[in-house]
Amino acid sequence: MKEGAGPHLRRNLTVLAVVSVVYLAVAMFVTNSYYQLILTLVPVWALFGVSWNILSGYGGQLSFGHASFFGIGAYTVTLSVIYWSLSPWLGIPLGMVLAGLAAIAIGFPTFRLRGHYFALSMLAYPLAILYVMQYLGFQEVSMPMHRENGLRFMEFSEPRVYTLIAVLLLVGGVVVSLVIENSRFGLALLAIRQNELAAEAAGINARLWKMRSLVVSGMMGAVAGGFYARVLLVVTPDSVFGMLVSAQAVVVTLFGGVASVWGPVIGAAILVPLAETLQAELGTYLPGIQGVVYGIAIIAIMLLSPDGLFWTIGDRWFRREAPQPIPDLEPLPPPARRASAHAAGPLLQVEGLSRAFGGLRAVSEVSFSIAEGEILGIIGPNGAGKTTLFNVLNGVLDADEGSARLDGQAMLGRKTFEVCRMGVGRTFQVVRSFPRLPVLDNVIVGAYGAGLSDREAIAQAVRALHQVGLQDRAGVAAGQLTNRQLRLMELARALAGNPRLLLLDETLAGLGREECDDVLGVLARVRAQGMTICIIEHTMHAMMRLADRFVVLDHGRVLATGLPRAVVEDASVIEAYLGKKWLARRDA
């Protein structure tokens, strides 16, 4: 659980309890069996929306095919009653297990894809299952009745019992979702949605968290589907694997409010009764009228309130929660440096590193080393391969040849988050922030990435914010920061993982003179605490003040290495930067 999440969680749980009790109280007075069915279906679709929201809302992995899990739940419950006389009380958990396995089987190949491709592939799974089900002869499967043993087979003559069970299932789903939202799970998902590469570079294993969210989401979807089958008594491939089922999850969530636990609940509470009532009232004169109204409703909501009702209402009638003051923790003393295994050797040793893009040798046989506590400046004209070098070092790109060792341990061939966990922090040329998260959460992502416990992570993040002087902005959303503050925040995120080596990519780019001095001051302070830094920079005068040593790259090769003064007077360096003419004029 995140620090400071307590009150937030308690408030939400109170709302949940009140809403459930009121809903059930109202349901008790409804005697019309059609309305009773609607009252049961609202929580079922809400639960399915909550499940979709975990993967697609928080994690941003847009799934058009959540019906896979809904259908697996529905068919498991129905078929296990028919063939094994298994009670739905056990059938639903069995469906969860199967859906969880299906989620792993689906996620394993599909998470290699991103964006459009991921979304479309997800669409194909339920439809493929749909045709297989038709082929296997499960076109229309009815739940057999067991009047003599109603409780065991979840068969009640009193329809309001179903409403009660549906509400309880939804409460369970909402609680799971709240726990996720307020834990490192949720923060990891939000970070991945907003910037997957940055999350990886901060030590988050994006693949693993996405997989976890798919499994949780799939299991929850199976609960909704299994119970739906029990309530409706008849299952057809189209009614549980069809595209409209997947659409239902998407629509109730986006209508109500995406990435909010209340969104799917609000959406289902409005849309399900609307559609059902229209169907009942007008369906005989105008078949399909509910589809038309449904369509108009979701288009209207999208154009008027693109994030969903929850957020729009929240913004208009309630001021967004005041930025929370940062937890009042004493900044910890800087943790002891991890002891070096080879005290004498360099911290980073790069040898013969090469990387080509087709015929272009972006990085070619680059070798250099960095001693503990040193600041190494990497300079070179545009296109010299500086950023590519960083990308290879921290695992964003694979190297073609060569080796890189951090304190004797091989760095190459590891994934980005693994390199981060070895103790390599990274910032980007274009700041990669999580714009909708508060500054403190942005930095905490870095601390979580390093595998710290919740308490330590907060403390570490606060310390990092103090280090860069952003402690006053901790509660502000990152999207509202100035360029200088963003650069500092990214630096703090890298520092929060308690790295041994910082790779800074043009941290000073786009800053004015005073801002530049400010950031340089912060870097000097960080260095004074013993940090080793490798920095790419264009601004020569800044680099002269900061770096102990230069490595000059040109066309992917190391052109010169040495003390700043010596390097800037090196003829080949001047030629690379300013051209031969300049050199000739200077010598003349």
């Binding site: 847009l62 964006g115 979304a119 439809l127 297989v132 629509v251 399909g288 589809g291 038309v292």
Partner: protein, 318 residues
């Protein structure tokens, strides 16, 4: 004897694959413009196809506006006449709805506006489907032409093995190829086509180059709608359909576009052809219910093994 049947089946699957595949190819070009190039997730593409079918149906069979053309030419001219109708419809849809969740407005926004496009086009799809049910009813209809029950016989090629070429499908095939070629030339070689592709590729840069990006998008969306509608009109001559026919084809279209490689018009066409082939050949070995499942399996394998598509060159950058 067995060999004879096998040869006959394979040859017939081959010809059916080519004819149906090219009509699918035309259909996929429409989505290729909208999804592949403009990167708009359009769930209503199947409904545009359906509108094309009904436009042709009302022009030719029910409304008899084109009945003077006779039962041989009428249905195919009707299919082509669907294009301007659905083009205008698509352009209007874009102007009032799609443009508000795509293009310049969503450049750089979270998820690039996909959530919005998903919901809005899903809404359009629901309205068209169910509105179609109110307007057109839910009894299956077809555009009647005597050609759909006539066939050219080729052969016998091997003993008694004969190839049957359905005349309706054959004419539809020629019209589809012609339409695809015209569109391809328009997009590749005319000023309008270049502006459309530039606007779709990088709206911000295109704006700086003085291209009216909103207009270009509107036209591109209209074209994408119109082209798919023509394919719908052609298909209407050999299948029967209801307002809910779109769902069956929207997956085929997405499969084709992804197979061909996103962003390539040419690729979308070949992707559609490939899907047609897979469908026809799977009929040889699989029971009919599993034919569509076969398309999805091929689709998934392609996406997983070769996400840049069969005919595409480079993968989407992460």
């Amino acid at each position: 004897m067995d060999l004879e049947i096998l040869i006959e089946n394979v040859l017939n699957a081959l010809t059916a694959g080519i004819t149906i595949g090219c009509i699918y190819g035309l259909m996929c070009i429409g989505l290729g413009l909208i999804f592949g190039i403009m990167r708009i997730v359009n769930f209503a593409q199947g409904e545009l196809l359906m509108l094309g079918m009904f436009a042709s149906f009302y022009l030719v069979s029910e409304g008899r506006v084109l009945s003077f053309l006779g039962p041989y030419w009428g249905p195919f001219i009707g299919a082509m006449c669907a294009a301007p109708l659905i083009f205008s419809g698509g352009a209007l849809l874009h102007k009032f709805l799609i443009s508000r969740v795509s293009g310049l407005r969503t450049v750089g926004s979270l998820d690039e506006g996909h959530f919005g496009q998903l919901v809005v086009t899903l809404g359009i799809s629901l309205i068209l489907q169910n509105g179609g049910q109110i307007l057109f009813g839910s009894t299956p209809v077809a555009v009647r032409t005597p050609l759909s029950s006539e066939a050219f016989l080729i052969g016998p090629v091997y003993h008694a093995a004969t190839v049957f070429l359905n005349k309706a499908k054959l004419v539809a095939f020629f019209v589809a190829v012609l339409a695809a070629v015209v569109l391809y030339v328009t997009l590749e070689y005319t000023r309008l086509g270049k502006a459309l592709r530039a606007a779709a590729d990088n709206p911000t840069a295109a704006t700086y180059m003085g291209i009216d990006v909103d207009r270009a998008y509107r036209i591109a969306f209209g074209l994408g709608s119109g082209i798919t509608a023509v394919a719908g009109g052609l298909m209407a001559t050999y299948i029967s359909f209801t307002p809910f026919v779109g769902f069956d084809y929207v997956i085929i279209m997405y499969s084709g576009v992804v197979l061909g490689g996103m962003g390539s018009i040419f690729g979308a066409f070949w992707g559609g052809v490939t899907v047609g082939f897979v469908q026809q050949f799977s009929a040889l070995i699989l029971p009919p219910q599993l034919q569509n499942a076969a398309i999805f399996v091929v689709f998934l394998m392609i996406v997983l093994l070769r996400p840049q598509g069969l005919f595409g060159r480079s993968a989407e950058r992460a």
